[in-house]
């Protein structure tokens, strides 16, 4: 067994349910053994478009929840934002349809060995992997506060059952249609102070993650960020999904977010590298 993608399986996953929730589709798949090794932060890669598809690349989706118990065998749940051709195709699959799925892939959120006070920050569908994380953290005795942001109310994914594991839930929207009007990052300083947060876990658009890192730096907090770069393969063979990461040896290397991510140490990421390469960066 390889050291890379060690737990990944390829399976024909059956759609068990597909429900519209706000702007998103909550989908449940029967995946056999694939669920078994899934940890919060991992993702799956799905082939889209069907038999005669012109879409040749897989699409990555964060695992919202997974379970390998229950009568349906292994089950994976995803939250899909119908956006372009691939996600729209996926969101329009019906119960009993099958899709080709590879997973679990990528790194997972690091779980502290001791109980800590964790702040979970999600943007849009970026909340998806945070609920599974919250459950694990809570089961380890952590305090979990969550803040979710989006442009508008319908784009906040925060199902009731997901809220069970959090001590507090704050919402922000750009248009003020629910919660605080503004960005999640606007809400962070006060939340960090009030909840005495010790670690930030985040998932969402790169601009949001960068803003969070600046706050984490200021408050000297560890920040585990789940980044989202365009991925062609999801399994580490194409080198399209890289971000510049300052490694322990001090050298910045273009690093695959599908293998060494999506969950990365926010402090190691050279943010704001879109369309440029930081000076002195090396290959992988």
């Amino acid at each position: 067994m390889s050291a890379i993608n060690p737990r990944a399986l390829q399976t024909s996953a059956e759609v068990l349910s597909n429900k519209k929730v706000g702007a998103y589709h909550h989908m449940v798949f029967a995946v056999d053994g694939l669920a078994q090794n899934a940890r919060p932060g991992n993702f799956v890669a799905i082939a889209v478009g069907g038999e005669a598809s012109s879409l040749v690349l897989r699409r990555a989706f964060a695992i919202y929840r997974s379970s390998d118990k229950g009568s349906a065998g292994g089950v994976i749940e995803l939250v899909i934002a119908p956006h372009g051709q691939g996600s729209k195709w996926l969101a329009s699959r019906e119960v009993h349809d099958h899709v080709d799925m590879v997973g679990p892939l990528g790194t997972s959120f690091g779980i502290p060995t001791e109980p800590v006070r964790a702040l979970l920050v999600g943007g849009g569908y970026g909340s998806a992997p945070l609920f599974g994380l919250a459950e694990v953290l809570k089961s380890r005795g952590c305090r979990v506060d969550m803040v979710l942001g989006a442009s508008t109310a319908g784009k906040i994914y925060a199902p009731l059952e997901g809220k069970r594991s959090v001590s507090s839930m704050t919402l922000t929207t750009d248009d003020g249609s629910v919660g605080i009007e503004g960005k999640v990052s606007d809400a962070l300083p006060q939340l960090i102070t009030e909840n005495e947060s010790e670690i930030i876990y985040s998932c969402g658009p790169m601009a949001m993650l960068k803003a969070i890192q600046e706050i984490a730096d200021k408050y000297k907090l560890v920040h585990q960020a789940s980044v989202e770069e365009s991925m062609a393969c999801g399994i580490g063979v194409c080198m399209t999904c890289v971000v510049p990461i300052r490694r322990e040896d001090g050298i910045v290397r273009m690093t695959r977010t599908c293998i060494d991510g999506p969950v990365m140490d926010g402090a190691s990421v050279v943010w704001d590298s879109n369309r440029k390469i930081p000076e002195g960066t090396w290959g992988a």
């Binding site: 890379i4 040749v56 194409c238 399209t240 590298s273």
Partner: protein, 310 residues
């Protein structure tokens, strides 16, 4: 009994299905999905002298039945590559074709010397479809003189047994002419085709989508171009073995390239869509050849060139 083996000049491979350079990582990534010994050989990403960051992101854009990439040959450089990647592949018993790429004509000589005598290495693929920094970034293989010079430099440094395979760009007026040039310069075989130069414009930012502006088009979209290039080159150089590639995702696709004249098939972009694509191609191609009554893979190579009443 079906004989699936193939020959690329001096090298025999148990089957003709290979990965494509730059599309199989270091091998480790795929070994979770199948044993690397199952395929004819693994073709490594093109390795250069020094560590290289590659291009800025975005580096890729999906296109109809294809994709653009501008990875820009990101890699660890030859030293770390020989220290890490090659020993691991050797430990897996994989057959290895090392792809090398230079920024100057001289780089090719240096790289050739570094890779010419390594266990399990069964061939050198010389990627000359990359920019020549000494000549305004013009692609080596787009001009007969620089294509020839790069291959001559490899030939001078590699003995007779290890096949030298020149990988050509399709972005030329006359690919058969370039092919003849590099074969005259000492190439034992050819790899056809590298990606086709393309561009995607993001209609939201209203700028080129890739940071690098242009990128290489690959995938099924370019398969008809690959088949044509292989057919033309096999017609003018019927004895030169060709590693065919360009949009192969199924056994049917591979068969097209084989009939056109390819002695081996590299699977690239299809692996991104399906981690087990190489195995799928291997199994399907064998079944198709058997259905058509072939008992030796090699009899199918270039079969589309037979005379009208053959």
């Amino acid at each position: 009994m079906f004989n699936y083996s193939t020959k690329i000049s001096g090298t025999s491979l148990p089957n003709p299905i290979l990965t494509a350079s730059g599309c199989a990582g270091s091998g480790k990534e795929l070994s979770q999905f199948f044993a690397l010994t199952e395929i004819g050989a693994i073709v490594t990403k093109s390795i250069m002298l020094k560590p290289r960051s590659g291009r800025a992101t975005p580096r890729m854009a999906e296109t109809p039945s294809g994709m653009l990439n501008s990875i820009g040959l990101q890699g660890p450089g030859i030293d770390l590559f020989l220290e890490n990647d090659i020993p691991w592949l050797q430990s897996q018993d994989a057959r290895i074709i090392i792809s090398i790429a230079g920024e100057t004509v001289d780089d090719y000589a240096v790289l050739a010397r570094r890779v010419r005598a390594l266990p399990n290495v069964v061939g050198i693929e010389v990627n000359i479809s990359c920019p020549n920094v000494e000549n305004r970034g013009m692609v080596f293989s787009c001009h007969p003189e620089t294509a020839r010079a790069a291959i001559e430099n490899v030939r001078r440094n590699v003995g007779g047994d290890l096949p030298i395979i020149a990988k050509l760009s399709p972005d030329v007026t006359d690919i058969a002419m370039i092919a003849k040039e590099v074969v005259n310069a000492g190439a034992d075989g050819l790899a056809l085709i590298n990606t086709v130069l393309g561009m995607v414009i993001d209609v939201n930012t209203m700028r080129p989508k890739l940071a690098q502006k242009t990128g290489g088009l690959s995938g099924p979209a370019i398969r008809p171009i690959a088949v044509r290039a292989i057919y033309q080159v096999h017609e003018s150089l019927p004895k030169t073995p060709i590693i065919g590639m360009g949009g192969v995702a199924t056994g049917v696709d591979a068969l097209e390239l084989v009939l056109a004249g390819a002695s081996a098939i590299s699977v690239g972009t299809a692996t991104f869509g399906n981690p087990t694509a190489v195995m799928k191609v291997k199994d399907e191609l064998q079944a198709l050849l058997l259905e058509r009554g072939f008992t030796n893979f090699s009899d199918a190579v270039g079969f589309a060139h037979r005379p009208e009443n053959g």
